[in-house]
Amino acid sequence: MRLGLAAAAVLAFLLLPWVATSYVISLAFALFLTAALAQSYDWVGGHLGYMNLGHAAFFGIGAYAFGIVFARGGGLPLAWAAAVLLPAAAALLMSYPFFRLRGAYFALATFGLVALLERLAGNLVGLTQGSEGLTIPTGYRLYPAYYTLLALCAALTLATWWLSRSRLGLALVAIREDEDAVGAYGVASFRFKCGTLTVSAAVAGLVGAVYTWQITYITPGDIFSLEKAVGPVVIAMIGGSGTVLGPLVGALLIEVIREFLRLKTQYLALTVYGIMLILVGLFIPGGLMRLRRHR
């Protein structure tokens, strides 16, 4: 039943470009982008229980690495590789100082990472063109970008489903619930934390590269904006952090609301975000996917 629904959804999205206008396709592209970021965030944020507000930093490293290599004529394969490997390497290095922090401190320190990278991207003009923004050679790439992200979203959801019933997933949830007890049982929690963050960062970098590839113009203010930084966290929380489908449900809801706001008003999108955060925090801290189980 569930499998049938999932197959039907994937099939519908596969065939969508034949029936829909390019406006609908770019909406779906935006939806996949948020969903992929939220899903990859949630491995660290939901399953492992470390609230990584710096997920957008890895997204941004990927976006810039791809853009810089591609704009300088490095070729596509090298650009894709850079966009995956650089964020992963950054995550590996950041693990050492950051996983000394727990809880709220980890969240704020990773949030600082986004602010730091925004300054770096703005200040290192020679590399990133600074606040003027980086442009890559254009081309009509909406359809290949759409399919890339569709495949990525499907793969991520499958991976999360596997994670939720594997020993690895069990270890992550155990670390979330009581890290000291896990250590006492002889599980080297640092390896799990470091590995999960690295894989999650690599995925975020890949999504960033697809973003640059399709949009062709990026600025520090756009890539490292507040909205991009809190987006994956908010979406995973609203949908249900630590569940397989939660990030997808959250992404769908947020994208519908965002498009509605865009049609109605240009402003106050962050205010709506903020009020939704407060309401979710107060009334459904487990997210929409957990509403059912409580009743």
Binding site: Y96, G281, P285
Partner: protein, 286 residues
């Protein structure tokens, strides 16, 4: 040499302003176990309140402080009652997540509403006092007076925590929440009062902030980040350590700003944070 002295004086004042807010964040975290992500935004709100009082009523920042401080005690208490206390029923992990969500929500809404409601969001006040000279050194009277009031406030806070009943209750709850409950301390009331006090301290920092530097709404979250570096630097709940951490941050920012440009100041805070985490994970004095 004189340049260096000027920079250090500027840095110490900036550090004092940081310290006021960081005391508040540290106390709130110690008592409520909530990391108040919206902390920097309450500084911005305090700064805008000062701007309003100055531009409409012509009140000097020092008079404004006397109005802003009590007003923000009440605002803080109301926020605690309405949004923080209802989360208490949840488990530890859920409480942490929900508290970050809610305070982040407050921060986003406050910043966006402030930016939206103003045609020109960057606000500064042109209040100034005649500077005076010591030898060849020119010292701003306003800055020195601000520093004096900040020192007074810090000393008052220290005395309040050390010798009044409410202050002792706050320290007891920081030490051991359950133990404080057993000893008959009304932990809910202490939490509410601490939140009010912490918010009022950061709004007071905002009063001095705007008399020296123009503010704009989106400075809030980076400020919270600087506060975090400071309390990690000084150790949580350690007021003298926090003060020293704030002065270190203020001075290094002022020196870096002079040599490389002000746009690098947040980078400095972050590099300090990482270095401390690597070398002394429990804080410099922890």
């Amino acid at each position: 040499m004189e340049v260096l002295l000027q920079l250090l004086i500027g840095g110490i004042l900036q550090g004092g302003i940081y310290a006021l807010g960081a005391f508040g964040l540290s106390l709130i975290f110690g008592v409520l176990r909530v990391l108040n992500v919206a902390h920097g935004d309450f500084l911005i709100l305090g700064a805008y309140a000062t701007f309003l009082l100055y531009s409409t009523l012509g009140l000097s920042p020092f008079v404004a402080l006397a109005l802003v401080f009590p007003a923000f005690i009440l605002i803080g208490m109301a926020v605690e009652r309405a949004m923080i206390r209802p989360m208490r029923a949840q488990t530890a992990h859920e409480f942490l997540v929900a508290s970050i969500l809610i305070t982040l929500g407050i921060a986003l809404a406050v910043e966006d509403l402030l930016a939206f409601s103003m045609v020109q969001p960057v606000k500064g006040i042109d209040y100034s006092l005649a500077p005076f000279r010591v030898g060849s050194l020119v010292i701003s009277t306003l800055r020195l007076l601000s520093l004096g009031v900040i020192v007074l406030l810090s000393v008052a806070l220290h005395l309040f925590l050390q010798s009044t009943l409410q202050g002792k209750a706050i320290r007891a709850v920081i030490e051991d929440r359950e133990g404080a409950m057993l000893a008959g301390i009304n932990v809910l009331a202490v939490s509410r009062n601490t939140f009010g006090l912490g918010i009022a301290l950061t709004s007071a920092a905002g009063v001095f902030f705007i008399s020296i530097i123009p503010v704009e709404p989106h400075m809030g979250l980076p400020l919270t980040l600087k506060y975090l570096s400071i309390i990690v630097l000084g150790g949580i709940g350690n007021l003298p350590g926090t003060l020293l951490g704030a002065v270190i941050l203020g001075c290094s920012e002022s020196l870096v700003g002079f040599w490389w440009g002000a746009e690098w100041s947040l980078t400095v805070a972050f590099v300090i944070l990482i270095a401390i985490l690597l070398l002394r994970p429990k804080g410099l004095f922890g």
